[in-house]
C-alpha cells in the first residue's frame, strides 16, 4: 500500500485540504474507488476505510493480481464533513456537479479537475454515492445510460439490483457520467445510510466491491456469490406520492414485497394525531426506495416500487 496526497488546497486560515489516495498493487490502472464527495457521506467514507483495511491485508498476502493497480480515495470533501456541511462550505457548490472539472476555473472545478485527471485512466470506476432525497434504497449498483454502460459488468457486484438511469442535463457534470465519457466503466454503489454508519450495509458494500474485483481478476479473494441482479430502468419504477402533508409513519421497508392496496405508510395530522391518509400500493411489486424522515410534504415521494411482472 502506498499512501499519496493527490490534491492540496490552501485555505485562508484552515489547515490545508489534503485529498489522499491509497494505491494497492502495481501495473495497469485497473480500478479506482471513490468515497465521500459530499460532506455528509460518512457511510461512504466508512465503507472506503473498511475496504482499505481489507486490501492492505490482501496485498500483504500477495492477493493483488500481478500487474494490476487499485486506487482508493476515501474522501474528497472532508473539509465540509469536518464542519457538518454537505456541499463545499464556502459557496455551497457540489463537487459531484463539477466534473470533469476545469483547472483554471472556480475552486470546486479545480478540485474536480485535480481528482479527475488522476482517476480517468482507470478501467473501472466505482463510487459510493448518495441520493438527494431522504430515504432508504434496496442496495444497488447504478449506472447512467450514456451508450457506454455495460449492465452485465454491473451484475458482477452481486447486489440485488442494477439500475440504469437516463441522464438528465444536471447529471452530465457528475463523476459517474464523465467517467463513462472517458471510457472508464463506471458504477455507483448505493447502500443504506449516508449521514450515519450502518454496519450491515457497509459490509455488503465492501463485499460487493471485493466480489467485483475478484471476478474481474484484479484480486484473489474468496467471496460468496451474491445475488444475480435484476436490471431495472429508473423510469420504469412506479413512484408513489404523498397526497397530503404531516407526520410520516413508514409501514413497509425497502426490499419488501407488497401487493396492490397494501398500506405503505400513514400520514398523520401533526397536531391531532389523526390519520390524514393511508398511502397504498398502486401495484404489486417490491419496494425499491422509501422515504424516511418523520415529516412529509404533499407530493413528496413516499416510495418507489419495482412492479412485479405477471407472466
Amino acid at each position: 500500500m502506498e499512501k499519496e496526497v493527490m490534491y492540496t488546497l490552501k485555505a485562508p486560515y484552515r489547515d490545508a485540504l489534503r485529498i489522499h489516495g491509497y494505491h494497492f498493487g502495481k501495473g495497469e490502472k485497473a480500478a479506482c474507488i471513490i468515497g465521500a464527495l459530499r460532506g455528509n457521506e460518512v457511510q461512504q467514507l466508512y465503507v472506503c476505510s473498511q475496504l482499505i483495511k481489507v486490501l492492505t491485508e490482501l496485498e500483504k498476502h500477495g492477493s493483488i493480481s500481478f500487474g494490476k493497480e487499485i486506487l482508493v480515495i476515501p474522501s474528497v470533501n472532508h473539509y465540509s464533513m469536518n464542519i457538518g456541511k454537505r456541499f463545499w462550505a464556502v459557496d455551497n457548490t457540489d463537487i459531484n456537479r463539477m466534473f470533469p472539472g476545469y483547472d483554471k476555473g472556480e475552486t470546486t472545478q479545480r478540485i474536480a479537475a485535480g481528482i479527475f485527471n488522476q482517476v480517468s485512466s482507470y478501467s473501472f470506476g466505482i463510487q459510493f454515492a448518495s441520493f438527494y432525497m431522504p430515504g432508504d434504497f434496496v442496495p444497488h449498483v447504478r449506472m447512467m445510460e450514456t451508450g457506454y454502460q455495460n449492465t452485465s459488468l454491473a451484475n458482477l457486484f452481486g447486489l440485488p439490483y442494477v439500475v440504469v438511469r437516463k441522464p438528465r442535463p444536471i447529471d452530465t457534470t457528475t463523476l459517474n457520467y464523465n467517467w463513462q465519457l472517458w471510457e472508464t466503466s463506471a458504477f455507483s454503489v448505493y447502500t443504506n445510510e449516508t449521514d450515519e454508519i450502518d454496519e450491515n450495509s457497509a459490509r455488503m458494500a465492501v463485499s460487493a466491491v471485493l466480489r467485483f474485483l475478484t471476478r474481474m481478476g484484479i484480486i484473489k479473494y474468496n467471496s460468496h456469490s451474491g445475488y444475480i441482479a435484476n436490471v431495472i430502468y429508473e423510469d420504469e419504477l412506479t413512484t408513489v406520492h404523498a397526497g397530503s402533508a404531516g407526520i410520516f409513519r413508514r409501514k413497509r421497508e425497502p426490499g419488501e414485497e407488497v401487493l396492490r392496496g397494501d398500506v405503505l405508510a400513514e400520514i398523520l395530522d401533526p397536531y391531532e394525531g389523526t390519520l390524514r391518509e393511508a398511502v397504498t400500493a398502486p401495484t404489486d411489486g417490491i419496494i425499491f426506495f422509501a422515504h424516511r424522515k418523520p415529516l412529509i410534504t404533499e407530493k413528496d415521494v413516499v416510495c418507489r416500487i419495482i412492479r412485479r411482472l405477471h407472466q
Partner: protein, 316 residues
C-alpha cells in the same frame, strides 16, 4: 389581481404558495399582449424585488397607459427567499436546475411544472437574477448562442449595459429560461447587482428598460425614456480572472471601470503574515463587468470578468 399559481402543503400548518399579481388594462375583450416578470428563483437574489415594486408603482400612476397584461411573479422560491437560502431549503437543491419540471413529479418538480404552465402564453418573459453573494454584476442580459438571433433584438430595449451571448451548456438546459425559450416564450435572463442586497440605481435602470420593451410590444403607451445602447459580447471577448491564492480579497477597481492590459484589479492579502499573496492584473484591456464582492477567497474563486474591446463602451 393576486392569484395563486401553485400551492403545496408543508408538513406542519403551512402552505408553500407561489403567487403572482396580474395587472390588466381596462376595457376590450380582444387578446392582449402579455409580459411576465419573474424573479426569486434563487432565494438570496433580491434585486428583482425592487424592480417588481417599481414596475407596479409606475403602472399605478398611469393606469390609462397600460394596453396589455403584466404578470408579476416576485418569488418563485418563497421558502428560499424568506429563509435567506439560495436553493430550495429542504433539499439544498438549485431551483433553476429542475425545469421544465413534471406534473407527476416530486413536489419541487410539480411546482416547477405549474410555474412553466402559468407563464406559457406570455409574449415575453424577463427572469431577473442578482448574481450571488460573492460577485457584483453590471446590469446585463445573458443569452445562449442558439437563441441569440431571436433574443438579442428584444434585449436591446432593456437598458442594460451589455448583452452577453455565451456558449450553450448542457447543464443549463434545466433552467427556467431555457425551458420557456424552448416552449416559444422568449425569455431574457437579467443578471445585475449582488446577492442579499438591493442596488436601487440598477433596478431603476432596468425598470426603464422594461417599460421601453413594453412599449415596443404594445403593452404600454405611456412615456418611455431613451435606453442606452448595450455592448454585445461574444464568448471570446470575455476574460475570467480567478484567484491564484487563498486569502482576503480587497478590490482596487470599481465595477464598470475600463482597465488597460496589466491594470490592477485588486490583491489577495494574508492578514496573518501581513503579506500580499496574489496581486491580480487584467490580462486583456477592457471593462470590468463582474467584481468579487465577498472578501474570503480560495484558489480558483472568481475575482473579476473583463469584457475586451470596449473602448467604445457607452455609459450615461
Amino acid at each position: 389581481m393576486i392569484e395563486t399559481v401553485v400551492e403545496v402543503a408543508l408538513p406542519v400548518d403551512e402552505k408553500l404558495m407561489i403567487q403572482k399579481n396580474r395587472i390588466t388594462p381596462a376595457g376590450g375583450q380582444e387578446r392582449k399582449r402579455r409580459i411576465s416578470i419573474v424573479t426569486g428563483t434563487h432565494g438570496d437574489e433580491l434585486e428583482g424585488q425592487y424592480v417588481c415594486y417599481e414596475v407596479q408603482r409606475i403602472i399605478r400612476e398611469h393606469p390609462e397607459c397600460l394596453t396589455g397584461v403584466v404578470d408579476i411573479y416576485p418569488a418563485l422560491n418563497p421558502l428560499g427567499i424568506d429563509s435567506i437560502t439560495r436553493g430550495i431549503p429542504q433539499f439544498d437543491l438549485d431551483m433553476n436546475r429542475i425545469f421544465p419540471g413534471s406534473k407527476e413529479g416530486v413536489f419541487t418538480e410539480y411546482v416547477a411544472a405549474e410555474i412553466v404552465d402559468d407563464i406559457l402564453g406570455s409574449d415575453v418573459c424577463i427572469d431577473i437574477h442578482a448574481s450571488n453573494i460573492y460577485l457584483r454584476e453590471i446590469p446585463q442580459v445573458r443569452i445562449s448562442e442558439e437563441t441569440a438571433e431571436r433574443l438579442v433584438p428584444l434585449a436591446m430595449h432593456l437598458n442594460v449595459d451589455f448583452i452577453w451571448v455565451h456558449e450553450s451548456a448542457t447543464v443549463l438546459e434545466s433552467t427556467l429560461a431555457h425551458s420557456l425559450n424552448m416552449m416559444s416564450v422568449p425569455t431574457l435572463v437579467v443578471e445585475m447587482g449582488v446577492g442579499m442586497r438591493i442596488t436601487k440605481e440598477y433596478c431603476r435602470q432596468l425598470v426603464t428598460g422594461i417599460f421601453h420593451l413594453m412599449k415596443e410590444l404594445g403593452i404600454w403607451n405611456g412615456e418611455a425614456e431613451e435606453v442606452r445602447e448595450p455592448f454585445i459580447s461574444l464568448n471570446g471577448e470575455v476574460d475570467f480572472v480567478n484567484a491564484d491564492a487563498s486569502g482576503i480579497f480587497v478590490p482596487e477597481v470599481e465595477i464598470g471601470t475600463y482597465l488597460e492590459r496589466g491594470g490592477h484589479i485588486g490583491d489577495i492579502l494574508n492578514p496573518l503574515t501581513g503579506e500580499v499573496e496574489n496581486s491580480l492584473k487584467a490580462s486583456i484591456a477592457g471593462t470590468v463587468f463582474t467584481v468579487r464582492e465577498y472578501p474570503i477567497v480560495y484558489h480558483g474563486s472568481l475575482i473579476a470578468r473583463i469584457l475586451g474591446g470596449t473602448k467604445q463602451w457607452k455609459k450615461k
